[in-house]
């Protein structure tokens, strides 16, 4: 269906090609997962399938890409629209109409399909993706998961043989992500659609894939194979695979179910061993860094937060979890005084955060927003660091020194826009940390991060907490929460429905339980690292 023959792609002005001599053949009806480092050329590979690269982006394409027999070199994206459907990373950025139904029809209108065909397909697609209830809703009023499904539906109505998705679940909560993946699987099974999807969160998708393509970046060859082949020695792997490797299971399980069936002996081995307790190193007697007391926040008629009471102390890493739109970001924003409270009290550093001047605020609390790029505005990394030193009124060079600790490979002269997602996050983190606020808030920090960067972030967060910072993460990433959090707060419809030690909260909920916990239940283990420590402890002592 899709074949890459000796494909190399070089962007204009780039010294080296992004992709070198890629040979790839994807048969019809497969679900293909493209993985690799951020900035390694995954998106380029995806966008080459419908000719956006090079027709839209510029650059040179050597070799040949055939899509259902059509050469992308002579067919621009619009002429391939009936064959390839592309869902962009941020669905909202690609919407043209203002109502769900109209958006679904837009692609067909461009293709000039007959009105009765359009009507039938819209109805079918609404059913297929469970959008019937939303058909007349304005797109702006949808939640992130609903938008993602509409974006998929909008390209499906043209009946493309190939569907290309760039990180379809990165912004979604676990439940919404499962809905989207179930819909995709249905397309592959029932309609024989070929799906090519890039995704960092392997733990969510690898079990659905028929084939995994690894794009290592830096001009290393692109390789592909079946998931279990590729996962055997891939540098990036979901926890289920890592646990399988650790325990030496063969064949390597990719699903929780397979792993559980192989995990009998490991469970026995671990029985009776207490899972490590996460201790908070900070001085708990000190006044809390921030506290909310019966806090309510309303937007118009909608309550974003209802009667929320909690405190955050030094040394804690608190994971704030819950559906899209449950009020996680609102709680963080209220703690830094970006949102007014409707009722109740918030105190950050003992004061009402709305009363604190912004120059003073940065020394009390730092917030890394959902898109860390929002914080950046200079044209070079060095300039960004200089203005950060000035903003925080600290000694020149402070931010740069912090950045060197967090991300040593980032160069002074780079434009922040050219940094990878992870590097941008670390730069924003360095800027926020320059004023050394005791309280650090991160909104969705792992969106778009690959496993190595995520591991690095986890390490940094643990060190900061050990150094006495209090940290709050709003996240959908159950693995990250299991990895670092000492406490988990679950929000639903603006109310706190669970607040307690990580193990207690995540083990109680199938939605928020990490893979290791699901495999080893009823034992209370959360991460591969904990299991590894326990097993090797056994071997040596």
């Amino acid at each position: 269906m899709i074949s890459f023959e000796h494909v190399s792609i070089t962007y204009p002005g780039a010294a080296a090609p992004v992709l070198v001599d890629v040979n790839l053949h994807i048969p019809e009806g497969e679900l293909v997962l493209v993985v690799g480092r951020t900035g390694g050329g995954k998106s380029t590979l995806l966008r080459a399938i419908n000719g956006l690269v090079p027709h839209f982006t510029g650059g040179t394409l050597a070799g040949r890409i055939l899509v259902d027999g059509r050469d992308t070199a002579v067919n621009p994206p619009r002429e391939l629209a009936d064959l390839v459907g592309v869902v962009p990373q941020d669905p909202m950025s690609g919407f043209v109409a203002d109502i769900v139904e109209e958006e679904l029809a837009y692609g067909m209108e461009c293709l000039g399909l007959a009105p009765d065909v359009m009507r039938r397909r819209v109805e079918e697609t609404l059913d297929l993706l469970g959008l019937v209830e939303l058909r007349n809703r304005p797109l702006l009023s949808l939640s992130a998961g609903q938008r993602q499904r509409v974006a998929i539906g909008a390209v499906l109505t043209s009946h493309p043989k190939i569907l290309v998705l760039d990180e379809p679940t990165s912004a979604l909560d676990p439940g919404a992500a499962e809905d989207v993946l179930a819909a995709l699987q249905r397309l592959v099974h029932d309609l024989n659609v070929t799906v090519v999807m890039a995704e960092h969160r392997l733990e969510r998708v690898v079990q659905y894939a028929d084939r995994v393509v690894i794009v290592p970046g830096d001009g290393d060859p692109v390789i592909s194979g079946t998931p279990s082949e590729m996962m055997g020695d891939a540098p990036i792997a979901p926890p289920v695979v890592e646990l399988g490797r650790l325990a030496g299971w063969h064949p390597l399980p990719l699903t929780i179910r397979d792993a559980r069936r192989a995990a009998g002996p490991l469970r026995e081995l671990l029985t009776g061993r207490p899972a490590p307790l996460r201790v908070v190193n900070g001085e708990r007697d000190l006044a809390p860094l921030t506290s909310a007391d019966h806090l309510t926040v309303r937007y118009g008629d909608v309550s974003a937060l209802r009667n929320v009471s909690t405190t955050i102390s030094r040394g804690e890493i608190v994971a704030l979890m819950g559906r899209n739109g449950a009020g996680k970001s609102t709680l963080l924003n209220t703690m830094v005084g970006l949102r007014a409270t409707s009722a109740g009290i918030v105190r950050t550093n003992g004061k009402d955060p709305r009363e604190i001047k912004s120059s003073e605020l940065v020394h009390c609390v730092g917030l890394v927003p959902q898109d860390p790029g929002d914080l950046l505005e200079a044209s070079t990394v060095a300039g960004e660091c200089r203005s950060s030193d000035h903003d925080a009124s600290v000694d020149p060079g402070t931010t740069r020194a912090l950045l060197a600790l967090l991300a040593p490979e980032v160069l002074d002269g780079t434009h922040p826009r050219d940094l990878s997602e992870g590097q941008r996050l670390l730069l924003a983190l360095a800027i926020v940390l320059a004023a050394s606020p005791p309280l650090l808030l991160l909104d969705e920090p792992t969106r778009g991060l690959d496993y190595p960067t995520k591991a690095r972030l986890a390490k940094i967060l643990r060190e900061l907490a050990a150094g006495g910072h209090g940290i709050v993460l709003a996240t959908h990433d159950v693995e990250l929460a299991a990895e670092v959090a000492t406490r988990v707060i679950v929000l639903a419809e603006g109310e706190i429905v669970a607040d307690g030690p990580t193990a207690e909260v995540v083990l109680a909920s199938p939605m928020f339980a990490p893979q290791v916990a699901k495999i080893l239940a009823p034992e209370n283990w959360l991460t591969v690292a904990e299991v590894r420590a326990a097993i090797t402890g056994e071997a040596t002592g």
Partner: protein
């Protein structure tokens, strides 16, 4: 059968709403009677509250009402400060400063008279009412749906407008985001320097978004080649351009006093017909089809007629010089309530029943269904 026409939930054709609203606006432009103007606003608010959808554009009515209030305030303030006082009923004696004749002999300040105050108020109210009528159309009919009904030849233009319109709310969101970021970095988030500092990131963000949107539209088949040849397409565009230029010249000649009347009308007719030919030609060749175009049925007829009737009742009354359509401000008079315009206004309110119900999910919940005029 006719029953289901009214009860079957659907969107009303946007053009019907615009005809209705422009009818009301025409009526407003013909009167200075504050009672009638107030009634026009009331009719607009009533219909909007009954039939506006729960969508971003549905909320624009309130904005237009505020704009209207601002217009009245500004108009009255300008009259008080700069307007020549006339009339005899002095409300507040104030000293004035006469400007020299080379400054047009105007004066600043001076006595405040009831007559000049009323004149300014009526004038401002009329303009505010027209604005509110436009606002009603805006919140009842989605701008995008209106553009869907433009001819295929103008489609490309329509898309440009739609993109531009989605751009504005996006820009507001971006400004908000950048201001947030400034606060998080410890910079002042208010004041001139803050605005200057945030202009660049906002602009960059907007540009980046438009490029993403263009890529998305391209991959969904926007601008696909049709069966029409390139030469033919160029001919069509040239015809459209020539027609538009001719129509403009014709219209100008008609309006301006100095040019020969013989040039105006033929030129306008010729220009418009060339445009129509070009549009139908490219419509025949266009690849695009339209999904569920809004039908034009009895409810649309009724709503549009309601607009036409109210406009006619006002224009007709003025033409026949029926009493009460104008309320003189000098000498101050109590406004009357003439019968013909009043009947017209009652008919203008009928869309409350004749326009079909909106589809579910887009109806405004009853608790929110309050229009606050003048807030």
């Amino acid at each position: 059968m006719t029953g289901s026409l009214f009860t079957n939930p659907r969107w009303l054709h946007p053009a019907a709403w615009w005809i209705w609203a422009l009818g009301l606006a025409t009526a407003a432009s013909r009167t200075t009677n504050p009672l009638l103007l107030g009634l026009i606003i009331a009719v607009a608010a009533l219909v909007v509250s009954a039939r506006k959808p729960d969508a971003p554009w549905g909320r624009s009515f309130r904005f237009f009402v505020r704009l209207g209030v601002a217009v009245i305030v500004i108009r009255v303030a300008v009259q008080l400060i700069l307007g020549a006082a006339f009339g005899t009923t002095i409300l507040l004696p104030l000293p004035g400063l006469a400007l020299p004749t080379w400054l047009s002999g105007a004066r600043i300040g001076g006595d405040i008279t009831l007559e000049s105050l009323l004149l300014a108020f009526y004038d401002g109210l009329r303009l505010a009412t027209i604005l509110i009528c436009v606002g009603a159309a805006n919140s009842l009919a989605s701008p995008t749906r209106l553009l869907k009904s433009v001819p295929a030849a103008l489609y490309e233009f329509g898309v440009t407008v739609v993109v531009a319109m989605t751009f504005t709310p996006q820009l507001v969101i971006d400004v908000d985001r950048v201001r947030t970021a400034r606060r998080l970095r410890g910079r002042p988030s208010k004041g001139i320097r803050a605005i200057a500092g945030s202009a660049m990131p906002v602009f960059e963000g907007a540009l980046e978004k438009s490029v993403t949107l263009a890529a998305a539209m391209d991959s969904r088949g926007y601008g696909r080649r049709g069966s029409i040849s390139a030469a033919n397409r160029r001919l069509n565009s040239a015809l459209l351009l020539i027609g538009l230029v001719a129509a403009c010249i014709g219209a100008y000649a008609l309006i301006s006093a100095g040019s020969p009347a013989a040039l105006g009308l033929p030129m306008l007719v010729a220009g418009v017909s060339v445009c129509i030919i070009s549009i139908t030609m490219s419509a025949r060749a266009a690849v695009r089809t339209r999904y569920r175009p809004d039908p034009w049925e009895i409810p649309e007829m009724l709503v549009a007629t309601a607009g036409a009737v109210v406009a006619f009742s006002f224009v007709g009354s003025l033409w026949l010089s029926l009493a009460g359509i104008d309320t003189p401000s000098n000498p101050p008079t109590w406004p009357a309530l003439p019968l013909a315009p009043l009947l017209g206004l009652i008919i203008a309110a009928t869309p409350v029943f004749t326009a079909p119900m909106l589809p579910r999910d887009t109806r405004v919940a009853m608790s929110k269904n309050k229009i606050k005029v003048g807030t």
